[in-house]
Subunit: 323 residues, 3 copies
């Protein structure tokens, strides 16, 4: 795994350390997880009623949530009632993963000799920094000055161009990561907790699919409690910014200087013109076309073409333009 | 040259490899070229009737084009009739220049000692990667971690700042390339050919003039079948994105985070405000002023000032603003 | 200091070298300074009547200014009358600080051994380039490929991530500078003087406060004749561009791909959404919220929320949107 789990912790310890008075039972917690991935001894949370369905099927042993939502929990999951579940969950996650709030470099990289021995079918440039636990597939090329940190998994026939930095990331086969991309850094997430601005731990990853093409100086932030994803056959032009927890589908083309804010889900076969922006927590359907420089602030259904700021259907945009 | 030409190829070989059934004559093809640059044994193409004039004067021996355009060819040029000339030309160009679709790093860079011996009047930082066939002028400074790939030509009194990557590029005298610029990488060009997304080979270059000033983290993509150009005395601020085949004139000032899409031609003495965007395949005249954050989607005549999205004359923009 | 002062110079020498015929007295000038910082033997300038108040209290010995403003000077300050004070001051500043127009790298960096000896409580990555006169605080981490040039001062508990370039900059305690930031480079400043485009010397610095968080590939340009400032507890997301002389207050959050043009002053507790742009020479109050993708072209009072381009109050923006 990418980050060291400082747990398991007893619930009584979590209660005292995080000042969560509503924890009223014994037991040990192994890990923090999203509702869908949590197991018996894990703790999860629900902050947004939009995701209530995930409560019914969760295998989590404990869930931080509002009192009104507790009724939806299965009997196997104990409620930890909170008035601000996200804040309390962040406090708990800092306890488990304090290092997931800072992007420090590894203390150890493989030497040229070690690289040659370990990765017989990989071509390396100079001054590369590859941490100990990195998987790199056959016929992959790693450019000059590249840094790949612990736990990353790079597929076959991948081109990682010079000056790229990759951490907390899986990259599929036949993908191209152009010059200077930063993939897997922490996202832009802060919360005011007890009058102090806390950096939200980011224990998620970035998953880049097969046959992807990521342009120069793109930055793709890793997820906080879920993953950031780029689907197969999707291409990004230069200077694109993909925020934490965002998911982009397959066969998408995203032009230069586009920004996608956090936790937005984009479908397949979506085309986004240059300098467009998409707000956070939106759902963009399949086969959507977003015109250059548009600002998308609402969900978009399948097969729509939109333009403008706020983005409207292209017909409406052109009508307004003629007025 | 920057890319290895795998040719010459016989037309019969091209016919079979590229599945172009309309090739009905013998002969050998040396190279692929634009209509204006092609010679007797070269092959060229016409996809857009806008460029029909170039047909009349071409010296190309062969031209891929639509049936209706063949009548414009000189008798020295044999037509290769195609329903999608660009697609067929891309298939041919992949045959000649398969490497022009990928930005891999060189396998060989000069050592510190070799650099000192070869470039007596150049000042180098540390960890520089200069390929074998690079010309660097007198009194030029190359910063730390700079990479300059095969075939580049850097003028006199140039400052190439640290972390810059340059390939397939000529840079004139007295120009400044600020930190982290990427100049000469492949552009964002794809075509769906036989139900497969193909990367368009980019065999063009980037030509940066004299006395240019390129800000930090600008990315200037090389041309596909022509060149990307930045004219003399033109300055770009930070984070500017210049796409493939774009030509910018002399004495222009382009502010931060501007994006110019592909194949657009911009005149002399043009000023572009921060975060503006210009669509592809446009013609922007001389002495044009484009306001910050504008989105230009149409050609602009000489001496115009425009603003807004879509950009209109500043008078109209301010009128609308007052409504 | 960051740049070598080639002075002191006699006024007669300045007069002849800069072709400023209005210099009619003897004396020696030690340095060029802003009105507020200048001392007895320094020269300063006033170009914009907005700053007339600074004239009354200046300790400068000489001031380049328009004839109509000379009446405001204290008796201790001798007027140098000019029709274009900024142009003449730039000519003088080039005389004093010719190197402040170019970002060349140092000729000398400390070796690994020297770094270990000098900075016992700092953790360094590989291929770091630290110049001789750099202060780095305790418990600070410097990533791979980092370059820190002469005169910089980095606080305690700072994380400088890999591929960062820092020059002419002070960074407070507990701040995080993410991957690939460029802080302290020259700004985008040119002036047409005697029919030649001159680069304006940038002798200012960048001052980053405590507990700041600067995202990947942000570029913060240093000031020309004053400083660029980022206040305590302020966070920038990725790809943000901060131009020269800009000052940002405390506790601000600035989202991805935002651009702030030069000499703009932003208050405390300001939030700016992704891809917004703020024009130069503006004053943005405290507790202001600027919506994503907005273009701000006027001053904004305290406690306002604005959106759109040109940005208007959110109420007006939504009203227009409904029409």
């Amino acid at each position: 795994m990418f980050f060291e789990n400082k747990g398991p912790f007893k619930l009584s310890y979590i209660k005292s350390k995080c000042a969560i008075s509503s924890i009223n039972f014994e037991g040990k917690v192994n890990d923090i997880k999203s509702l869908n991935n949590a197991k018996k001894n894990d703790i999860s949370f629900l902050d947004n009623s939009k995701y209530i369905k995930s409560l019914h099927s969760t295998s989590a042993g404990y869930c931080v949530l509002k009192e009104k939502h507790a009724i939806h929990l299965p009997s196997t999951c104990k409620p930890i009632i909170s008035q601000s579940p996200l804040n309390d969950f962040i406090k708990i996650s800092i306890l488990f993963y304090p290092d997931a709030r800072y992007d420090k470099h590894s203390s150890l990289y493989l030497s040229k000799g070690q690289l040659k021995k370990k990765y017989k079918k990989v071509k390396f440039g100079n001054n590369v920094h590859i941490s100990k636990n990195v998987i790199i597939g056959h016929n992959t090329t790693i450019g000059n000055n590249v840094i790949i940190e612990n736990g990353c998994n790079i597929g076959n026939n991948v081109i990682v161009s010079s000056n790229v930095i990759i951490k907390n990331t899986h990259i599929g086969n036949n993908s191209i990561i152009s010059f200077g991309c930063v993939i897997g850094k922490i996202g832009f997430g802060y919360k005011l907790i007890n009058n102090k601005i806390e950096i939200i731990p980011h224990i998620g990853q970035v998953i880049v699919g097969n046959n992807c093409n990521i342009g120069s100086y793109c930055v793709i932030d890793r997820g906080s409690f879920s993953n950031t994803k780029i689907g197969n056959n999707t291409s990004l032009d230069n200077h694109v910014h993909i925020a934490h927890n965002t998911e982009i589908g397959e066969n998408c083309f995203i032009a230069g200087q586009v920004g996608i804010a956090g936790s937005t889900i984009i479908g397949n076969n979506v085309m986004i013109g240059g300098q467009a922006g998409v707000s956070g927590h939106l759902k963009i359907g399949n086969n959507v076309k977003i015109g250059g420089k548009s600002g998308v602030v609402k969900d978009i259904n399948d097969n729509q073409s939109v333009m403008g700021y706020p983005a409207v259907s292209i017909k409406d945009f052109l009508k307004n333009d003629k007025k």
